[in-house]
Symmetry: C3
């Protein structure tokens, strides 16, 4: 890579083993932490500060100078200062001309300012090469050396060489630089550390709501009802029996909700006769969090599996079994095998096992490192074909589990149907509509629409 | 990065916030989808088309011009046209000189043409800088914004700056560019989206064949035989009992098949006395899909675990247990503990648990993000040492499960041995041969051969 | 990218389909393997050797010349020679001027020499552009084509263009180049293949020690004690019962040890009143292997789950159950349900399930590809909040499992308490101290210290 003739000295690549001096503006916590770490990695560090008095907090091996003096000592200047104070840099514009300014700042709110801090810095000091970096790393993590979390440092900037120099420093500190392109990416990089699982919020709040509803529903049916009518204390059902009703119900509903927006989108497109009009906003958002919905559903399915497998170990179940056998023995009766119930029991277990197995497979393919290794066709095959197969198996599992129970009046305590019946509504709707949609008379126009055909071109946006 | 003096304007990096105009040749589905997405991301877009009539399908904010006019407006031209029509570009050669041409095309078959589309484009317009990109993304995914699958865009090209500009656009659209080097990589990039799990085909077809064989084998032994001789209806065994015979058998056989090619390769090398002759083609192919074989084996092992753990919940098993206990009670008999059967039962369960545990560990280390984080020595330790330990444990699990059963004539219904006996053949062969191969008298020459020594140098290729 | 005017020919990018000739110094195993692979990938290869006699081992299509002649034929020279023999390159300095020298060497010990081999090479031939690469790939893997393990090739070097050329070759061979920055990274790259799970050593040796201790402890209590006093042979407990005592105990202790160093660090910081003094070395090392400790704990927890779920299938357990029921039937007694024991049994199972579920969640987020996709705040939320919740649930699971048992004298065989009691010591200490630390009177100063405040600035380093 060739150097600019001006500034060639400053930007000379690291050909010798000696590392280039780095200047840090600001002696706050992050500036000091970064300084410490850089000195450890062999970089000479100069601090630029309003007061040039060395404090005991500043790393011993670092010099503290005025901003102007410090800036002249280094080609790279790290601006570890709040955005509000950036304007003190304007008078330094001449000294900073051609230097690499590294913006490490973060905001306290998402999209706090119209332009990113790095772009603002770049406007304030137009002659400098601004690079955004290090904002995703915490001072505490730098200091303690316990970088268990992401070692990724997003780097962006308009000047390739400046960016390269910053990325080399990032690597030297034991972190992984990730080139995010030009300075336009700074806004997103600054928003990144402020997010707390943004895509997970809807699935998790939805689950909490459903859990609350089904908990009280099951409590009424399984604990309060027998207590009222039989004076039987089944309060301990709260620990396992009721969770094991809630988990499969939530898993099935959430899994169906993963496939519902796709079905709705197909209906909307068929109705509109074009794919060139945007979906309603709620549908767009829903489609974007399908993966998270599916993973939450998988979590509930896994809990259901665990709750089910411990059944034979439960004290209550062992008591019930032995009481049944004892009373059978006392009646001198050995029952013949009921083939129908053997079939029902084995098939709902088998359907559940296969459904859960495919569900776990779907979960594994959604791991970032796995989904990055499959192409678009493979991903669609897994997420669409295998996904629907999973939904079909899980719905069938629930249907066979119910068996003929929905006919028996004893299933309707206080007119409340069994929870499993409620859970079947959405999956059955999704499967029926999907089945209708793959009929050739609807599938053909849909495919054409998705390939760009329009029924009424004049209506398109 | 320095600019070429010619064309400096066009290739100027994105120093201002305003994005560069992008030209798209072709107003087909993919061209339009890409145009939409680019306009959303802030790029001015010009379409180049034969007919300059704006259609309602073309994004409103985009201009539609003739090819020549459109090309002059932008430094980057995306060629969203089928390869067959590329020759219309020849007369435009002068206008396209120095421009960045982005080839986004795909073929319908793997290796359809002798050279990749991008290389063909580069030959047609020698003065242009051809970059291959975007072919792994689907128009539908771009349009709907639901890029759940891989956001990776493979980019290759001979001109570094042109590639960098395209990668910046890729990033701006929210996708992840992956630099694949020079234009030579285009062939592979064009083949990529056409593959559907190419490495999985052999393991999956093999499994399907084995499943079919063992299904009918078990059906004969476990359902038809008792029906013929005892008129007992065990048809419900199809749901759980028979799958739970097939799964462990397949898991063990496939796991052994993972290690068989390595053993065969060692024998071939010992026999030939050199490592410098290629293995037969079938062995090469087999070795390349060992990971997939192992993962399919793990899937069957997981199913086996689930099928086994639900045993106590099965209606049939509960019926059998209670009948046994009732008849025991009616006979007034409490049996003493049979230490041998307690030992056998506990040890085959323990061996199975440990084997499965190690198997899952092997599976986790084969996740791309995990295997990329271990070095060669660590990977060999896990896949070879732990792999053989897993095979030994699983074989022992099956042997102990069988116990003395292979001696009892009742195990041979219609002269058919138990399925577990069939499953032991390959694993035992692999383990015995491997054991022979690690004897010093064979291990030493093998190690020397693998370090490059030859017994009969004249015979080498 | 612009070329240097000198050497422009040699460094011309691969604009034609023809690949550049590559020269390999050294005809040892690795040199030959690399040569074979390069010829397969379409590179003309020239070997430079002391004796120019072609051996049958050298790929047929490769020329063998003297070092000087070979070097003149290529722009890239791969030095496949031991570091000890590098000094033969000094007389060739003039010919090697401007060439790209690729150092592929490895050492036999970590940090064997004061400077890395690549830096040493760069000092010997100052006019050449040294690039470190290929050292993480094994000759055997190159030859056999079975690159199941990491395909990553770490590349570093001071000259960007030289590095780019080497990375293109790496890609052409089907491997993944990873730019590690300047030649300073060579030391680390050379150490990399010599490591065998360095961070796992402490957790694994600690586990082995604890396993040995708890094995003999449980053996004494559960096998030897009943044998001595009741002449009962419970030797088969070694297969499942004793492992199922050891696993949960180890899982809980190791999980607590993950959080103990954080608690200790907080105490040290509170006591010192500053965060600017380094922790003792043992604490630093301990903190760095917390992830590995946690994963080993998760492994034991998973084994515990499997061992527990097979309980009802065990021959011994089925014998015990049926005997109990038979004797109950013979006594004509049906017991009433014991609500307390139903509550205890269900709650310890439920706590265990939830604890294990969260534990698996923690494990999944520690997968590299997942933890790279969460930001610092999300990672801390998962690892700290969810981590402590896991510890609380698992400790509660163990406490409820014990129930009132610790009061009963029969739990103390030969004065030895139950293993589960021993396992509770460390978790309870961690949880109590953590609870004290989040009291506002301690949490406030700690937060201030972690933000950089110092109680006694004069004492800081």
């Amino acid at each position: 890579m060739k150097k600019n003739s001006s500034n060639a000295m400053a930007l000379a690549p690291n050909t010798s083993n000696k590392r280039e001096t780095v200047c840090i503006f600001g002696t706050g916590d992050f500036g000091r932490a970064l300084g410490h770490k850089m000195i450890q990695s062999g970089y000479p560090v100069v601090f630029g500060s309003r007061s040039t008095q060395t404090s005991s907090l500043i790393p011993k091996d670092a010099e503290v100078l005025s901003h102007a003096e410090a800036a002249q000592k280094a080609a790279i200047i790290i601006i570890a200062i709040q955005r509000q104070h950036y304007n003190f840099l304007t008078p330094l514009a001449e000294i900073l001309h051609g230097k690499v300014l590294v913006d490490v700042s973060n905001n306290s709110k998402i999209n706090q300012y119209p332009e990113s801090n790095a772009e603002y810095l770049s406007q304030l000091v137009p002659g400098a090469k601004v690079v955004k970096a290090f904002n995703t790393v915490s001072a505490w993590a730098l200091q303690s050396g316990t970088l268990d979390a992401s070692r990724q440092v997003f780097v962006c900037g308009d000047d390739m060489e400046a960016k390269q120099m910053v990325m080399d420093i990032v690597r030297a500190l034991g972190l992984t630089p990730l080139d995010q392109g030009s300075l336009l990416a700074a806004q997103e990089i600054e928003n990144y550390p402020l997010q707390l699982f943004p895509m997970w919020k809807f699935p998790i709040f939805l689950s909490l709501g459903l859990i609350a509803f089904f908990f009280f529903y099951s409590l009424t049916r399984d604990v309060i009802y027998p207590y009222v009518y039989e004076k039987a204390d089944f309060s301990f059902f709260i620990a396992i029996s009721i969770p094991n009703r809630i988990c499969p119900v939530l898993a099935l509903i959430l899994l169906a909700l993963v496939y519902l927006p796709g079905v709705l989108a197909a209906i909307i497109q068929l109705y509109r006769g074009t794919k060139y009009r945007r979906f309603p906003d709620w549908l767009d958002k829903w489609m974007l969090c399908r993966k998270q919905l599916g993973l939450v559903a998988l979590a509930f399915a896994s809990l259901h599996v665990l709750y089910t497998l411990v059944i034979p170990i439960r004290s209550f179940v062992r008591w019930r079994t032995s009481n049944q056998i004892v009373s059978q023995a006392l009646n001198n009766a050995t029952e013949p095998l009921n083939i129908t119930s053997a079939w029902l029991s084995d098939s709902y277990l088998a359907l559940g096992i296969l459904g859960f197995f495919l569900f776990v497979l779907l979960g594994i393919t959604s791991l970032p490192s796995v989904s990055n290794n499959v192409n678009w066709q493979e991903f669609r095959f897994v997420q669409s074909k295998l996904g629907y197969l999973t939904l079909i198996l899980c719905t069938a599992h629930t249907l066979v589990y119910g068996g003929k129970r929905f006919l028996s009046p004893s299933s309707y305590r206080w007119y409340l149907p069994n929870t499993y019946m409620l859970s079947l509504i959405i999956p059955c709707i999704v499967l029926v509509v999907k089945f209708v949609l793959i009929l050739p008379c609807l599938d053909k126009p849909l495919t054409r629409i998705r390939q760009g055909w329009e029924r009424n071109p004049q209506y398109s946006e």
